[in-house]
Symmetry: C2
Subunit: 214 residues, 2 copies
């Protein structure tokens, strides 16, 4: 079972801890600030108030038994650095640390962080991926021109079966799944009728995905 | 053609502008700071030094003719707010703004931002998605248990054709594409032989994707 220990509940650490919890993973969340711990105690199942620069305190909460530790204490770099070194010393298998600058990133990598996240940079790249695929609800880039793309079912296809819609014949796209209400129809049959509000998950050239929407 | 005007070249704005440029989109990058403009002039094709809170200056660089404007001036909220309002006034079709807090997010939405990005929050959620799919190179969540997942070709399948590998028969997964070197083989045939270093793009239950890797 994957277990995560998240140190530092700023905006990055908190959204990370909450998303992992929503994905039904075990998460231990740690923060120095009592008030912060109280604020999140309703939304996170396991939160502890403690100082992650104190290796004994970390050992006491069993940090060494976690598979992955993520250090998200941000603005005081020294705390970030110490917490990272501590997790490494305790033998946590994978240590991921947040940094604010490339210089901090290099230092954290030197002291043993397996991966260093620059949130502003990550969010910029992520937004670019989403914007570059305009009108795509979500997408997975497979190659420079190919991807798996989620698109809202075009109006002119509603009420038609997949084979009638000619998605493959006319656009060269495979509808590999349909999201409807809270269900996912994987590998739908050719006679599946497209309904309003369906989300079509298509595989093919990105240009063809854009074409089918216009 | 999609065209983007990016205002504010901090870490978020710069990575956004660079990624969009790498995806071969037209990007006009704007920053108030001469030194910053000089720093990025080697990596971004179109950079202009100007003040985005000055609507006439924005009009002068043709900002109103852009499809999407992204306001990434961060630490001085008023600049963010003014630039957002200016883009709206100029008639830019879609305005996306960066915020640091939920309060700022609400204000920006009130003055007309179509979308407000909280980079720390986004990066936290993005990391969670990646960590939750341990060993998945990338993945697109389709439903609570289903997804499109990129996995490294398991050693025991290398040298076998898709049908021999029994990926579908034994694991219930569809291999919808194979990434090999810099190519993407979309909808591979049943007799396609799996090679070392292939990345299999599979569709199915996430639990089955994990099972095939162990
Ligand atoms: N030594 C420490 N041990 C545990 N938690 C700590 C320690 N030092 C700082 N923190 C906590 O880390 C959290 C995040 O720190 P801070 O707010 O400085 O970073 P930030 O970069 O602004 O965060 P974000 O950008 O993710 O919102 C704070 O809630 C703080 O209490
Ligand atoms: N009125 C303005 N017009 C154009 N650019 C501006 C204006 N005000 C600030 N900027 C630019 O926006 C950029 C980002 O601003 P700043 O560094 O304050 O934000 P930040 O939140 O720290 O950025 P990031 O977190 O993305 O690194 C700076 O390079 C700054 O020169």
């Amino acid at each position: 079972h994957h277990e995560f220990v998240i140190i530092g509940l700023g905006r990055f650490g908190t959204s990370l801890a909450m998303a992992l919890t929503a994905y039904r993973h075990d998460v231990l969340a740690i923060d120095l600030d009592k008030k912060r711990v109280q604020q999140v105690s309703n939304t996170l199942p396991h939160v502890v108030q403690m100082d992650a620069t104190d290796i004994d305190a970390l050992r006491e909460v069993g940090a060494e038994f976690f598979d992955t530790g993520v250090v998200c204490t941000g603005s005081v770099f020294e705390a970030n650095l110490l917490a990272t070194v501590n997790l490494r010393k305790l033998g946590v298998r994978r240590v991921i640390s947040k940094a604010r600058t490339v210089t901090q990133q290099e230092i954290l990598q030197r002291v043993g962080a397996d991966e260093v996240i620059l949130p502003e940079h990550e969010a910029g790249v992520q937004l670019a991926r989403r914007l570059a695929a305009i009108n795509f609800i979500d997408f997975l880039q497979l190659g420079r021109d190919t991807g798996v793309v989620e698109i809202a079912a075009p109006d002119n296809l509603v009420g038609k079966s997949l084979v009638e819609s000619q998605v493959r014949a006319q656009y060269g796209l495979s509808v590999i799944a349909i999201k409807r209400d809270n269900d996912v129809i994987v590998s739908p049959r050719a006679d599946e009728v497209i309904k309003e509000d369906d989300i079509l998950v298509v595989l093919g050239k990105i240009a063809d995905c854009e074409r089918i929407q216009s």
